[in-house]
Subunit: 294 residues, 4 copies
């Protein structure tokens, strides 16, 4: 079910995302590790958060001729470089095809947008299932040939249904979850299974207007600009690390319905950019903040 | 002390800003009043807030050949049109030169920007005085030839100093006040003297990050976009009717100092646009919201 | 095949779009026509282009209780108001469901976006057919249940194929055509059948980079911002009246492929906004320029 | 005449800007050079232009404890690293205070903005002189205590006056020149003295509307967005490498005068950002394109 236009990228590369307490010589140690093993660095982006004294880095290199076999790179890197520096790191390969699941409720605009991009091969992903608490969007899933699981949720059933959701995700080997206007709060336990791997779209410019009905609140307050925010889900509602935000200008002429209509386009594009950044292995999280390498 | 480039606009016009409960035939009644008295409508902008059932309107017409003398138009309009419809209205003339005062503390960027525009003749205003709680920016005022009054404020002296401020404003026949990064909270009593005539610039995208140190909070929260908000001052802090907002993109690379630096440019331009809208008689306020005619 | 969510709008209203040489009393004449026949004005937006001395206006009123029957309003308005003032006008009713056709080539992103909005009921339109010079996107049309006609075009066949296109449009009573990245130039003759009723999306910020391969040119020139432009099609290529534009920031890091990827999102949203403005009867054209009432 | 707020930055650092044909191991060679000489890398930003096969890099390191004395770093770097790799490079130090000259004609908005930032200490520069072809803005220069040289220019005098300009720049040891709405074309010979060191602000979104009267052209074309572009000056008019651009939304309601007014704010901020990027040693030029490290 992968529709990536470019099944075999010409270059097979590895990406390392690293963060650790800042100290001298970190860049050199990582670069040397790659160079001495005959890797060719394609991209390097690095940042030091002076306030928190945290070093972060994204480095991508060509695996052609690299001495260490891909499945061993992590082990070698941990032993030779990371351990000593106290590095947190994640490694990815350009020929991976991550498996994504979508959660929806009744609104379809983000779902259509994601499915169109997927079918169009814009993203290199597998998309084996959609989960919803309502049957309303089953026809959209069917149209695009994706399985659609309805798991209605109320106060009494929440815990049990979340267990079923987790089971489905596990069965389908899902790597990350996209909440495409899923109007249910996830339990801390659920979230703990996918740390920094659940991407939500909130229909306001956070931290303004968290919670429900942000367009109503925005209209009430009389703001001149509305926004949308995509973030990783954490136990605290609408307070997770922000991946992407964007805004659009409105005026006194816009009714709440107009805000909702204009906001849909913001939500679609902000969520899509967040997914793209996640897929491109450009997001690194610490201290409830993201570093988005570009 | 007026530096308007265009001392004698070729057309002398009148502007009416109106709002009232919505009802049939309001536009026609106003248009007829003007037309029957030989006025030529130059601009008409109108809006109905369906949720609150409020009609609002800005109408500007050429006074050339208008039958009613300018100083009598208000009275006639009240008697013949407004009374019956329960209209709130304000009338302005294009050849007025409003008198503005600036309040500052220690930061100079908005002050420089305003004084440059004034000296350049961009705005049709008189600018007879600047009031500050600190002596720091006296040299800037002097550079532009404006009187600078230092009225230091602490808890004990606030009430007394505000009385002096009010006295200065009255002496100089000030029509409206601009708080150009004035870091003091005004008392309800002070505000009551200038309802919807005190314009503040707040250095965040309200309602996100009200109060002090918004750039620190924005950095802490890890937002991807910062903003500035200009609003009329009301007793509730940072909660007055919003006149203008704008935003700028930031990244994880931006320290708090960078946010402050980038934010200054937003603050300058947002405050300047709000002053322009106020001067152009394009702002109408009801229910703590603005209608900004364009 | 209409999917509008709101089949029966609560208010049935009429919209008049008017432009003519500026002269005294135009607003009053139109407003009086409506008021004297018991219409209630819902919205009025008006503009005078002082340079060209052109008056333009959009007025919408509630038809409930209006004395003149809808099918006669045009005739009466022409006789009683428009004739004398030399007005060009168009009349629309809120309960119309315009019939739209889409032309595409091989790129799918705008097509998906339009079909999703249509299926989602975001727009009040009928969408009976898609015409393409390639078979590539037939599966998308099928997915959404729309007829897809393939009319391949080369130099020799152009004239003949355009005749077939025109015939299809006539058969399906198409009111306006959307070129959703249709990579063929239309003949003057074709265009003459749909004046200001063919909407194109061009993948640059016009007038920068007209013609083909604008992203390559943008990359070559080293611009820091890219854009998209939606306009009505006129015989001169990429020079028709602009309905909507938007831009996005890029950097030296963006390859041409990245510009194409980022540009797609601009194209989708700019085209969608242009269609919305057209459908909302908010576009008026004269002198190769648009007035977009808001 | 330096007004930098922060005369003694706590960290004295060096910045290297490098570009050369792409090849393996470039990052490592530069990083090693710094590390082996006891430098601590503060920032590293790097990019490979795959189309042109050009490697570019900005690296900044702490000079505290660096083995090579500052005045010798360039020589050593050339010998040990740059020569072999065919690198073009430029070196700067954080405690430099570049000397800037401003050229103006009659419009004051960019001049005020630059002088305010300078006086406010926002930029670490010396600003010893302003050169103009008109006397109009002498009072502004005087207000800020800067020398103002009037060198009127017509066809006959151009060459001679440019010689005087060059002499003044040499006398004052000017490092770079800012054309703050200077309405004269500089000769190729003049430009050759300051390659990539003359910054211009053009009042359109280039390459749209080059040359004179861009706001008139924008109004004529009916664009929905206007822009401003800051670029390094090259012999071909308005075709130099772009440093920064920004845009603002307009509508049919905006007259040419309104475009000019709104454009001024774009010009000010775009020029200021370009100067900032230049001062921060974040601009690198090759092939008539800029790399702007961020």
């Amino acid at each position: 079910m992968s529709n990536a236009k470019n099944e075999s990228p010409t270059i097979r590369s590895a990406v390392l995302l690293i963060h650790c307490p800042d100290q001298k010589g970190l860049i050199a140690r990582v670069v040397d590790f790659i160079l001495k093993n005959s890797g060719n660095v394609l991209h390097l982006d690095q940042h030091v958060d002076l306030e928190r004294q945290v070093f972060s880095m994204r480095i991508e290199w060509d695996l052609e001729g690299f001495v260490i076999p891909p499945e061993k790179i992590g082990e070698y890197f941990q032993t030779l470089v990371a351990e000593q520096a106290g590095m947190h790191w994640a490694m990815h390969f350009s020929d991976e095809t991550p498996r994504m699941a979508i959660f929806v409720s009744k609104q379809s605009h983000c779902l259509y947008d994601i499915l169109s991009r997927w079918q169009d091969g814009e993203w290199r992903i597998e998309l084996p299932l959609i989960i919803s608490n309502h049957p309303d969007l089953a026809h959209v899933a069917e149209q695009f040939g994706i399985k659609y699981h309805v798991l209605p949720i109320d106060k009494a059933s929440r815990q049990q249904q979340e267990q079923k959701q987790l089971q489905l995700l596990a069965e389908h080997k899902i790597e990350f979850v996209v909440l495409a206007r899923y109007m249910q709060v996830l339990s801390d336990e659920f979230i703990s299974h996918y740390p920094n791997r659940i991407i939500n779209i909130h229909h306001s410019f956070l931290p303004a207007f968290p919670g429900s009905r942000p367009y109503h609140s925005a209209h009430q307050r009389g703001v001149k600009i509305i926004g949308a925010t995509s973030h990783y889900v954490t136990p605290e509602l609408d307070a997770g690390p922000i991946i992407e935000q964007d805004v659009g200008r409105i005026s006194h002429k816009d009714s709440v319905e107009e805000l909702v209509r204009k906001g849909r386009d913001l939500e679609k594009v902000v969520l899509a950019r967040a997914i793209w950044n996640h897929l491109s292995r450009k997001c690194l999280v610490y201290d409830n903040r993201t570093v988005i390498f570009d």
